[in-house]
Symmetry: C2
């Protein structure tokens, strides 16, 4: 099933079930918000599935046409967002771009940071940034959302806790990163609010593209209407979502509604393009000795989307224009 | 006024107003949970104040005797916990303990990390840790809780957004920190769930001890019944809560219910004792060349509390025994 949250003037939106083709929706009867559904997933998910099935069959009495502009983030605020960095091609390129080494331990010990979860941008709209000097960038990623995960869970059992899958544009302020990481305390200023995809879907919606804790489909990023990259999310993912969950839960449980990010999707095969500007710039540095593509200017439009093998959008498109922030 | 959350079998507890002496409580009429009150603070806070005043006067009809064991964390889960490190005496000692330098920029640029907020331990009970080898430690801190803070707020206006004050034991797994910080992505395994004080209080409850965005009272930590330290929280705090909030909000807004931590309270005057074991060990290294006090063993009991100048506990005591984690 596919789930989303309608803007309703509140902080958490109103949960809706969404048709597979993303065209129709109906207010969820089982829970008022997605967080409430995740809090009581065993009870709610069969009810939501039944309602989604009725919608699919044209039998949901209160169904309506869905406009993406009416959607909030599926989780407009969440209790936790842990963003991994599982595609080592990305890690290696970005670290080379800032002159940092890649330690061998990165092959066995996942990178992951505690990210801002107190607010996610609506899936379409604008992203306010105070200054272009911050080095505005995007990072196209896949995420999973968990139910309650016990402390110390192993990767082999982590799949039981994956309830939903979505995409994210992990907005990044590239010029603020080196100074922050040098302090050792992770990202704060350099990773402001992110944007989730219009809908979240249960893993079964992905069919056989969901296997081994990875999504085996290309993640398509478009910049100003031009294809920017479409690397395969199932390729070169050094740590599966199952391994990322086990990593996250090593010393503590994870509350229902925890979002786990894959990190920027990137392949060793450069011909498929990139999922962030930093990588494109790094390849320019390797080729030309310096980057020729600047970071984003205000007005730049970034679109992130994933299609099934038949060409249908699975999660809807994340699409934003970056704009100057005015208080 | 003083606010707390009763355990009620749910995830967020039931909001109560608490008497100044912490002995009596009454279910809040204005909002079911503290997060709900913070989400609608302008409407709820006068209603809660009126109810707290009635309780103080013995005029709250449904008041009951309060047992701290019946309390959940005041915010059992929060959308954001940003923990600063504003006491440079602590930063300097801990960094010396792990052989790291203190850059001069630390005098002007606050250290702060995105901490786990998806669950806070009840104020009294046990803290489960998988292994003593993790280097179990505590960090006694002061926190503030904000209403919605706009992006780019200045320190001079940040006080408008401070709604509540509390204490935290920021549970720390000291032996896991060096490897995590070396990765640059901040704390994940080394900072599991923390414990908030039994109650949160509005700043006016602190009287003139709340000024300049600091709490001018000693923070008392007891280990196994012995006084461990009582440094002055208003002394040597390099960055006030106002400055910490401005730092946090530089590139993004902060959602209502954001918790901002001071970092481990520490004074340059060593005679007042410490608020974590790592500092005590550091002072031993300076004196003896090596630490003689081990990190905590299972069974160790840590108590964190703050008293007003008349000797009354303001927030109640955080008190836990560390115990082995069993799934």
């Amino acid at each position: 099933m596919k789930l989303a949250s309608l803007k309703n003037g509140g902080r958490d939106g109103a949960l809706v079930v969404v048709s597979r083709d993303l065209s129709r929706a109906a207010r969820a009867a089982a829970a008022p918000t997605l967080q409430a559904a995740l809090d009581d997933w065993d009870r709610c998910s069969p009810l939501l599935r039944a309602q989604a099935e009725a919608l699919e069959q044209g039998e949901a009495g209160d169904a309506f046409d869905l406009a993406v502009g009416d959607l909030a983030a599926p989780l407009p605020r969440a209790y936790q967002f842990l963003d991994g960095s599982a595609y080592l091609a990305h890690v290696e390129r970005v670290r080379r771009a800032r002159g940092a080494e890649m330690p061998p331990s990165f092959l066995t010990d996942p990178l992951m940071y505690q990210a801002a979860s107190d607010g996610f941008l609506p899936p379409v709209g604008t992203i306010p940034v105070a200054s272009e000097d911050y080095g505005i960038d995007f990072e196209s990623e896949v995420c999973v959302v968990t139910s309650d995960v016990p402390m110390g869970v192993g990767a082999e059992e982590a799949g039981d806790y994956v309830q939903l899958v979505c995409l994210v544009n992990d907005v990044s302020l590239r010029n603020l990163i080196p100074a922050e990481l040098a302090k050792g305390f992770g990202f704060l200023h350099s990773k402001p609010r992110s944007a989730l995809s219009p809908v979240m879907v249960t893993p079964d919606e992905l069919g056989d593209a969901w296997r081994d804790g990875k999504v085996h489909l290309p993640l398509v990023t478009t910049l100003d209407g031009e294809r920017f990259g479409a690397p395969e999310a199932g390729v070169d993912m050094q740590f599966s979502f199952f391994e990322l969950i086990a990593h996250a839960a090593k010393t503590r449980p994870l509350a229902a509604g925890t979002i786990i990010g894959s990190g920027t999707v990137a392949n060793q095969d450069e011909s498929l393009g990139a999922s962030c500007m930093a990588e494109k710039r790094m390849l320019e540095i390797i080729r030309d000795g310096k980057p020729t593509t600047p970071f984003l200017s205000f007005g730049a439009r970034v679109r992130v989307e994933m299609f099934d093998r038949a060409g249908h959008s699975i999660f809807g498109a994340i699409e934003h224009a970056y704009e100057p922030y005015r208080r």
